[in-house]
């Protein structure tokens, strides 16, 4: 008897569950990053932010569009940073009718899936971070694409500004030490130009990814007697380069356009000057900005770890914002499926979250950022730049 009751009850529950699910509309968000392999670092950061934002939104009961409540479903694909794997994973997402794809950060992955994306232009939106997306945006039939990062040399791009800033400090010669990979090469070419424009001489040395001992290239670069060393491009190597450069005194004035100030703080007694572009200086912002404070606390709670004040949360926070921006755009567009409308709304919006966002006409992000000076001993001088307030759309 009780058995019968229980089964009946169970069935009821099941039915309820099913009907509940069917009543609950879901918007799928795909994310295509290298979560394993040599470049896992670059997939790990954004995937963290997205996961956090999505669970927050869903826990808050989803979001309303056109009087209907939607929840988000995040599908994270691992490309292992390989074109072959990426192609398959990306096609899976499209077959799964995913209309919003975050990523990729890796340019080789982007190059591999770009043709497929172009074929499906209009069916979905891709919010890519990679610099490779910049060139693609300029070309026709790029309605599927939005670049969520700001182009170093673009209007309100931080690159130009940073180099000017360096010029103002009287730098005449800069030595660049970059990994010999896709992004490294891109930045190298980019900043080579920017320095030349400002009449700053620059010498470059590249290293094979995976290198840990930089004494040789550092010594080589030091012999050029540069005013600043520009090492790159992520904390993964910065901690080692900065340590080895400052410890041996081969370079104590550093100029960073990607990466955090973590390395500077770890070597604060050795450095003379460490100029870094960071989208957000969390240590300061969390004291003044409640949104940032909340993010930091949520992050600790969500991942049950200390908040790492380095590059990880920088990227995480941006992706965290992107999710909210997308939702915001859906609301204003009044649709969750008409990607054209949503793209328009997204590009039109000026978003004030952890970062301040705005898009230029091509669909490339322009956002607020900080220029941080870390001096010997670790005292920090901060300049906030907010192109979203200045640059006209």
């Amino acid at each position: 008897m009780t058995f019968l009751k229980r089964t009946a009850f169970g069935i009821l529950l099941a039915v309820a569950g099913v009907s509940g699910a069917s009543a609950q509309a879901v918007v799928k968000i795909g994310q295509i990053e290298g979560l394993t392999g040599v470049n896992a670092y670059w997939g790990f950061m954004p995937s963290q932010g997205a996961r956090m934002a999505v669970s927050e939104i869903n826990d808050a009961g989803g979001f309303q569009v056109g009087g209907k409540t939607y929840k988000l479903e995040l599908i994270q694909m691992d490309t292992r940073g390989e074109p072959r794997e990426a192609t398959v994973q990306f096609k899976k997402l499209l077959e799964d009718n995913v209309q919003f794809v975050f990523g990729p950060f890796l340019s080789n992955v982007f190059n591999a899936i770009e043709p497929i994306a172009t074929q499906n232009s209009g069916k979905f939106l891709m919010l890519a971070g990679t610099t490779a997306a910049h060139a693609r945006l300029a070309q026709p039939n790029s309605d599927f694409l939005i670049r969520t990062y700001n182009w170093d040399a673009g209007p309100g791009g931080f690159g130009t500004l940073m180099v000017k800033h360096l010029k103002a400090l009287g730098a005449k010669k800069v030595a660049i030490l970059y990994p010999n990979d896709a992004l490294g090469k891109t930045i190298l070419d980019l900043y080579g130009k920017l320095f030349k424009e400002q009449g700053i001489e620059s010498v470059a040395e590249t290293f094979e990814p995976g290198t840990k001992d930089f004494s040789a290239p550092l010594a080589k670069l030091a012999s050029y007697k540069p005013d600043f060393l520009m090492p790159g491009y992520s904390d993964a190597v910065l901690y080692d380069i900065v340590r080895q450069a400052t410890e041996s005194g081969l370079a104590t004035k550093l100029f960073i356009v990607r990466g955090s100030i973590g390395p500077a703080l770890k070597n604060k007694d050795m450095i003379d000057d460490y100029i870094a572009y960071v989208p957000k200086y969390f240590e300061g912002a969390e004291k003044t900005d409640p949104a940032v404070k909340k993010f930091v606390e949520d992050y600790k709670r969500f991942y049950k770890t200390e908040f790492p004040y380095d590059q990880a949360p920088l990227c995480a926070s941006s992706c965290y914002d992107h999710v909210y921006m997308l939702v915001q755009a859906m609301k204003t567009a009044g649709t969750v499926s008409d990607v054209a409308k949503i793209r328009a709304a997204l590009v039109a919006q000026t978003y004030r979250g952890l970062w301040n966002y705005k898009f230029d006409d091509t669909g490339e992000a322009v956002f607020s950022f900080n220029i941080v000076h870390v001096k010997k001993g670790g005292d920090i001088a901060l300049t906030t730049v907010d192109p979203t307030a200045t640059t006209a759309k």
């Binding site: 979560l35 394993t36 392999g37 040599v38 896992a40 670092y41 997939g43 790990f44 950061m45 010999n180 040395e205 590249t206 290293f207 094979e208 995976g210 290198t211 840990k212 001992d213 004494s215 040789a216 290239p217 010594a219 080589k220 012999s223 904390d235 993964a236 901690y239 080692d240 340590r243 080895q244 410890e247 041996s248 005194g249 770890k266 790492p308 380095d310 590059q311 990880a312």
Partner: protein, 286 residues
């Protein structure tokens, strides 16, 4: 310029000493078990992460941390041998494959537990020593000294003790050794475990020099194998020398030539040696 070169030779030698310790592990396992144990890379990663964990998370001082890490990894090494490599003795390719499997398992597990963000040990013994315009960081000196000591100890152990001699005898001629009453199964296991602990030690010391990430193992095992071959398989002191030569050729090479090709300089050297002296630089016997 001369200072630069000398400094780089020193740095190269120190970096090479790290290759050397892995190479020693490679050489020993290859001689005794007939398997090129690429999994040593995985054990090195574990050694590095365990050391980091003990030091940063558990707050144990550095040197004990290294010992703990080595201990833990040796246990894992024993399990790996008993569970896996015991079945691939003298089967080079299958051993290689099992190693590859093990590497991917370890790498992914580390990712899972400690994420992809590189970990940094708080500095042990920072600062540099400057002599006549040549500057070398103290920790590097200490660590290379430690590595040299370990290799020397291993050499003494292998030449002066009964166990060591029986190991050599076994490497030369298994049957004879068996007749000498050498417990070959135990010998193989001991050598395997010892080489994993060497790798772990390498990892533990590495952690105090550089930031660590899950993929470092693959890079170092290749260097280790190169160094071992360069020296000649079976050469104990040679493996260290091989590593040092590799390190120096890379560092000095990258002064005069683009450092992006750094890895190539060691390889070219390796090929030349193998073609001109197939037994390796120090390899006497065929």
């Amino acid at each position: 310029m001369i200072q630069v070169v000398v400094t780089q030779m020193l740095n190269g030698a120190i970096v090479g000493a790290l290759y050397g310790i892995v190479a020693l592990g490679v050489t020993l396992t290859f001689c005794i078990t007939g398997v090129v144990n690429f999994a040593l890379g995985a054990f090195m990663v574990l050694g590095a992460y365990f050391t980091w964990w003990c030091h940063e998370v558990a707050g144990i001082p550095y040197i004990p941390s290294v010992f703990l890490a080595v201990l833990a990894v040796s246990v894992l090494g024993y399990l790996a041998d008993a569970g896996l490599f015991r079945f691939t003795r003298n089967h080079l390719v299958n051993g290689l494959l099992v190693s590859i499997g093990l590497i991917s398992i370890v790498e992914a597990s580390v990712l899972l537990i400690w994420t992809a963000t590189p970990k940094n040990l708080s500095y042990v013994l920072p600062g540099v020593i400057r002599v006549a315009g040549i500057s070398v960081s103290q920790i590097k000196l200490v660590i290379s000294a430690a590595l040299v000591a370990v290799v020397a100890a291993t050499y003494v152990g292998l030449t002066r003790t009964w166990f060591g001699r029986s190991a050599f005898a076994y490497a030369q001629n298994p049957e004879a050794a068996m007749l000498m009453g050498v417990n070959t199964a135990r010998l193989e296991t001991m050598v395997f475990v010892y080489s994993t602990s060497l790798a772990a030690l390498g990892g533990g010391l590495y952690a105090s020099l550089y930031s660590i990430e899950p993929s470092l193992g693959g890079f170092y095992i290749l260097k280790g194998v190169e160094a071992a071959i360069l020296a000649g398989v079976g050469e104990v002191l040679g493996s260290l020398a091989g590593g040092v030569i590799l390190g120096i050729s890379e560092n000095v090479g990258s002064i005069y030539l683009p450092s992006a090709l750094r890895d190539a300089y060691g390889l070219v050297f390796l090929i030349l040696i193998l073609l001109l002296k197939p037994a390796g630089l120090f390899g006497g016997k065929k």
